[in-house]
Symmetry: C2
Subunit: 137 residues, 2 copies
């Protein structure tokens, strides 16, 4: 049985974050000590590792809840997990595309600024005048 601090050290998840995940219904300590402190077992540590890993990959809390539920049923078909991961991958790709458009626009704006004062600063002018943009955003 580990205290919350030990679990934190083992998983790299901060103590308040562990409590937050509990509040979000992602995990519950196996026990409580007589003085009401959380006590975790090996399984809990593994579960938290799973959660942390999924968060690192950018999955939302709600999706993680679903993935955890799926992982409890080894015999169920894994389409659900594939679908969740696939949808997330699509989202990540869309975000990348959007950020690339921003990057291009910002790059163009920054590199165009040859002015010395605000009056002829391309950065300021571009923001004021949408007509100076190459693309919609």
């Amino acid at each position: 049985m580990f205290s919350i601090g030990e679990v934190s050290r083992r998983t790299g998840v901060k103590v308040p974050t562990i409590r937050y995940y509990e509040q979000m219904g992602l995990m519950t300590p196996s026990e409580r000590s007589e003085g009401n402190q959380r006590r975790y077992g090996r399984g809990d540590v593994e579960r938290l590792t799973f959660i942390r890993h999924a968060r690192d990959l950018g999955f939302e809390i709600d999706r993680i809840r679903e993935l955890l539920a799926l992982s409890q049923h080894p015999d169920a078909p894994c389409e659900g997990a594939d679908r969740i991961a696939g949808a997330h991958l699509t989202e990540v790709r869309q975000k990348i595309e959007q950020l690339k458009r921003l990057e291009a626009e910002l790059e163009r704006i920054v590199s165009h600024c040859g002015g010395h004062t605000v009056e002829d600063c391309y950065v300021i002018r571009a923001l004021s005048d949408h007509g100076l943009c190459e693309h919609e955003h």
Copy 2:
């Protein structure tokens, strides 16, 4: 003089968002009607367009406040604006790099899942076992 609804229609910024920007100190209506309703002039609409444009480009509210302050001084040097935009561009690029790493990892995980049940689902296994990851994240 325009009402907040008219300004919203002209700029595409929702009414509550305009009030939010006011609360954040980005803009104030030129006047109030006798019945205390906001009344905006042309300059206000331009200012809101500037704000919206900057938000679309991903600038934070605090940065926009700075950019607005700079734009009020046409004779000042524009280094400030360049620096803000440049720093933002750097951030955008970093985010793109991070998302690309996520994309690669997710792609690998999703494409590896040839299993039919959760038990041998690579998605679930990869989340459970960090050792299956290619890179740190």
